[in-house]
Symmetry: C2
């Protein structure tokens, strides 16, 4: 098995200022690296999903502010970059959080010192994400081990996941997939059911690619087949990621997550969500209030893949001109979530459950601290 951990989805170029990211639109058929030189290019990479995954989007946004500060550290220029970057995608919590953090770290500095400080803060966000990934992986691996024990020691432990939550989605080794990698490294035999994740195929294209490289056994299924597998108890636990989780534990994640949670609950199979704390929106209690991005219907009407010619082509699936709609996320109510795997441990998916792990973030906790 390839040891996961040396690979990164974002890094600084050799010149120390250009930002390199893997162009995830080209995977799994080609490995291409982009160089981002401006905040507009960073925003474009986020919007067009060259980079995706809430933590990686956050990191890209953070470096986007640094690129802006390098080009023009004046207040108005940073303000423009802030708006441009935050508007790139609306649902994930990490983007606004990371942009605000870098802006906050440099706003009080004299303009000539802002660029260096912004790069430093972006790097700190990335390093913190690496540590968060590692901790989530460890807590998640315990849950995988426990699921294996509940299955009477039968191996492989059967994990089902949705979308991509691996090292391509973060700056470290991932969130839900970090748990898979950690469990595999601990010697637990695993098999992962990978939902293809229409419309953009992050499961079929990215998770399958990551797991194949890591040597973790997996099988790709269509999104609609997960219910069947859960009903027939071919799954020991479900672990997914999140783009934004409410203070009460409601989980916005890739479209199609909510039906997985319903099917897991119907068959009493644990449904866990890996939640780095920057994905928690402490200002929203009711997950149904999380804004749900609607993307270009063309993503539904067509799909890209490798043609027999050896070229990647987009093929249209619907009749010419047929209308389509493309909500990118759905919300799984906290009541369907068995637990939230944070870097501080596994929380019950309730306000008090999260508050117990993050007392400084909740009003009651703040009072206790005061």
């Amino acid at each position: 098995m390839v040891r996961i951990g040396d690979q990164r989805a974002i890094w600084l170029d050799d010149d120390g200022w250009g930002v390199r990211v893997i162009d995830q639109r080209a995977l799994p058929h080609a490995f291409r690296v982009l160089r981002l030189e401006t905040a507009a290019e960073a925003a474009g990479a986020i919007r067009e999903m060259a980079v995706r995954g809430a933590p990686l989007i956050g990191a890209t946004g953070a470096y986007g502010v640094a690129l802006a500060a390098r080009a023009d550290p004046a207040d108005h220029a940073l303000s423009d970059a802030e708006n441009l970057l935050k508007d790139a995608r609306p649902t994930g919590a990490n983007l606004a959080w990371a942009v605000d953090r870098v802006i906050g770290a440099v706003g009080d500095l004299p303009p000539p010192r802002r660029a260096a400080a912004a790069y430093a803060e972006a790097a700190r966000i990335c390093e913190e994400d690496v540590a968060i990934n590692r901790a989530i992986g460890e807590h998640g691996a315990e849950l995988i081990a426990a699921a294996g024990e509940r299955a009477g020691g039968r191996q492989p432990v059967e994990v089902l996941t949705h979308c991509n939550t691996g090292w391509l989605a973060t700056t470290g080794r991932g969130t839900a997939l970090a748990a898979v990698y950690e469990a595999a490294e601990r010697g637990i035999q695993l098999h992962v059911w990978v939902t293809e994740t229409r419309p953009r195929e992050q499961g079929a294209g990215l998770t399958a690619w990551e797991l194949g490289q890591a040597g973790v056994p997996f099988t790709v299924i269509v999104d609609g087949a997960a219910g069947h597998l859960l009903q027939r108890r071919r799954v020991d636990l479900v672990i997914v990621g999140t783009d934004r989780t409410s203070a009460a534990g409601d989980v916005a994640n890739k479209i199609g997550t909510y039906p997985l949670a319903l099917a897991a609950r119907a068959s009493e199979i644990p449904f866990y969500v890996a939640v780095p704390s920057p994905s928690i929106d402490w200002t929203i209690a009711d997950g149904l209030a999380i804004p749900i991005e609607e993307r270009d219907p063309a993503e539904v009407a067509a799909v890209s893949g490798l043609a027999p010619s050896g070229h990647v082509e987009s093929v249209r699936l619907v009749p010419e001109g047929a209308p389509a709609a493309n909500w990118a996320f759905d919300v799984t109510p906290a009541g369907l979530v068995s637990g939230l795997i944070t870097e501080r441990g596994v929380a019950r998916a309730t306000r008090s459950g999260l508050g117990a792990l993050f007392p400084e973030k909740t009003p009651a906790g703040a009072r206790i601290q005061a």
Copy 2:
């Protein structure tokens, strides 16, 4: 609006013996008609899904026996054809039912009279299906009207469906989609959410094509988005078809149906199944005992569509060699079903509910009749 009803998915060729079917693999990008001349060709068309939809598969199987009897009416030849045809696809109930019916109608005849009798019985099966379609459409339209009234008369009534259950799936105007057509003809304003139905895109490719031709407004969504729409109450009722329904009302249907039923139940939105009685398997009570076809994983690993070149191409979605699995159906437990729309009316999804409409098919009913 195009009046639906003149179009047929299967018919006898001008020579009176060759069987014409629409090659549904080519839709929506091309309209091609195949001519079937042997039972083996009929079985191949079923297996390769040139024809699909449980009632149309049944009709094709019936004509397959007729083609076999025309070629060689001897007992052993008919027996070979029977096995070949029944083995073409395992889950749908109509195929074995229709083949058995034609075999039964000709088995006692002297061989020279078998071919004509087989064609006549196949034609009867088709005509009965047309009548069943019409009745199901009428009963289903009442449910759509009722859903509109429950919505306070708000129009359009929002219907969600899965896979294809229109005139391409039957010999008449369809099952679940027949209800949509009938409601539209009664002047009810409708909008249909069409799930694309991976892996073979019968929603995006066939239902969208049918509805576009009929002038019924629709929007294509990915399968995983249906839960979101149901949760947000953007749907007034769900109507799907079935490939085999158990005597207790459990519904085997296209993979991805079960999660729809769970999501409908979670939001208390009616979930109806259009069930022609030949799709009911009176010998199976527990739907989980219905055999679930596993098809070629290549159907999951790749998808066909119209390339910019104007050619239909199959593009690979997964990394080279990535394993995939392809269950074609799932089973929705009767408890999630609001009602079974049969040609005799809407039954509760229970043994007694079905028995009340089909007393001659159930032991208790048989006793009452005796």
